[in-house]
């Protein structure tokens, strides 16, 4: 479905991604793990067209999206839930969700049913729909960011560090929702995480990144038992 082929990316003179290739198939959850500064977020940002790689190709359903702008990439069906709960603090929860649907011209009926769908996933957002997003807790803001992503009916959804800075109980809920979205909506998911254990346990396949290079990849269960991964990411 999504294919990243041999991309190189840099910020100015600093090379950040070296020959990175990843693939995401229908309905799978693919996780990308690695330490801080490994290039995980840079990879996401390159896929989203927020930065453009120096070489290589990125294809969605066989069609190159390399030169498209972010808003056009979203229209192709890729949605990115950025790291750090990037909501619009001065808009209400419902208006935040409306922004997610902005680029699609839904009928009023369709819009309502989508809204009900995300409220079903996150009933708490329905209770707070008139509240300003800036006044919500961190976990709730993350819910808004995810729900907003779902409002454009994506074909693929990417989560960047969804657990960052959240309480452990809420982190578990967050991962449950990601699995649920993947199963119920049959949506392929890319999950970028520092919490390697959680990422490996919910994903089908995993890529391990280090200093801008993919150093290992394969079935998550196999990786979870590999001695190197255990040592480096899972605490022995």
């Amino acid at each position: 479905m999504l294919e990243v082929k041999n991309i190189h990316a840099s910020y100015g003179k600093v090379h950040v991604l070296h020959n990175v290739s990843i693939q995401v198939g229908e309905q799978e959850i693919v996780s990308i793990i690695g330490a801080n500064g490994a290039g995980k977020s840079t990879l996401m940002r390159n896929i989203m067209g927020l930065y453009h790689p120096r070489s290589g190709d990125i294809r969605m359903d066989g069609e190159s999206i390399l030169r498209l702008k972010t808003d056009q990439i979203v229209k192709k069906g890729i949605v990115y839930v950025p790291e750090g709960r990037e909501v619009f603090p001065d808009l209400s929860v419902e208006d935040n969700l409306e922004m997610g649907a902005f680029s699609r011209r839904y009928s009023a009926q369709k819009y309502k049913s989508l809204l009900e769908e995300v409220y079903e996933i996150y009933p708490r957002l329905k209770d707070r729909r008139k509240q300003l997003a800036g006044s919500l807790s961190g976990g709730e803001q993350q819910m808004v960011a995810i729900a907003r992503g779902l409002m454009s009916e994506p074909k693929l959804i990417m989560f960047d560090e969804p657990s960052l800075g959240l309480a452990p109980v809420i982190v578990d809920e967050m991962f449950d929702v990601i699995v649920r979205i993947n199963r119920e909506k049959k949506l392929p998911v890319i999950l970028v995480e520092q919490n390697a254990f959680a990422a490996l346990s919910i994903s089908n396949r995993c890529y391990v990144m280090e200093n801008g290079v993919v150093t290992a990849s394969g079935d998550s269960k196999v990786l979870m038992n590999s001695p190197e991964i255990k040592k480096a990411y899972l605490g022995g």
Partner: protein, 311 residues
Amino acid sequence: MSKTIKRYGYVLAVAAALLLPQVVSNTYYVTMFCLTLIYIIIAFGLNFITGMTGQMNLGTAGIFCLGAYTSALLTTKTSISPWIALIVVIGVGFLIGVGLGYPSFRLEGVYLSLTTIAFAEAVRQLANNMTDFTGGAQGVRNIPPFTVFGYEITSKIQNYYFILAFVILFGFISYRIMHSKWGRAFIAIRDNIDAVSTCGINTAHIKIIAFTLASVFGCVAGGLYAHYSSYINASTFTLNLSVTFVVMILIGGMGNLWGCILGAVIVSMLPEFLRFLGEYYQLTYSILILLCILFMPGGILSVVKKLKRKR
């Protein structure tokens, strides 16, 4: 509850505006009121791009100038009615929005401000130096007034009510746009521009819509100004004026119609109330504005809101 209070607020404000020149009928003051009303329209427009979308626009004087000159030259050089000129003026506002917006709204922050300053200065210099066409430093004289049902709008009081009608109309349009999908997208850009593009929204496009609204409002205000004062001159439309417009929405409260109205009224009327200070008035005025910005960065309206919340 608060919605009904708001509605009453609008009705009260309109009623007060209708009564004002009956209570204070001194021609000098009515002249001031007319100018204030014109500034309110400009502030409504600037509110879209600077107040809601958060993009600094220091070129409003240029927009205002183009609107005024377009209408003035059209009606003095040809004999077309100011109403038809008004339609052309709206078209000019649209052209400025798209023509200037496309190249400049790819820029951000200080570069955008500089571009808008350059635009306004270029317009002013052209108006000043194309002597054959614009009258140069002598300006354009004998601009005919608007006519409504065959009556010419000539006296100050007539002008006041005429312009007030425009303020109400543009206030209503602003209100509708602010509470639409567009309005919310403007605020979203101010809040978090990267997240807007990851929502699949073309941010340059939204900024241009906001800027075009500002330039259409500014041009219409310019047209009204030209026919109201019957004489215009390029030296009115300086950078100083552009800054004054920004100060208006800053002091009143950004992103809010009441803020625009309050800001425009305070900034244009305050010098009058300080006149008794003689030569110290300019200094006092500047210090007051500075204090306002330092201690009420959200504008006067933010203080009102805070007091309400405490209660």
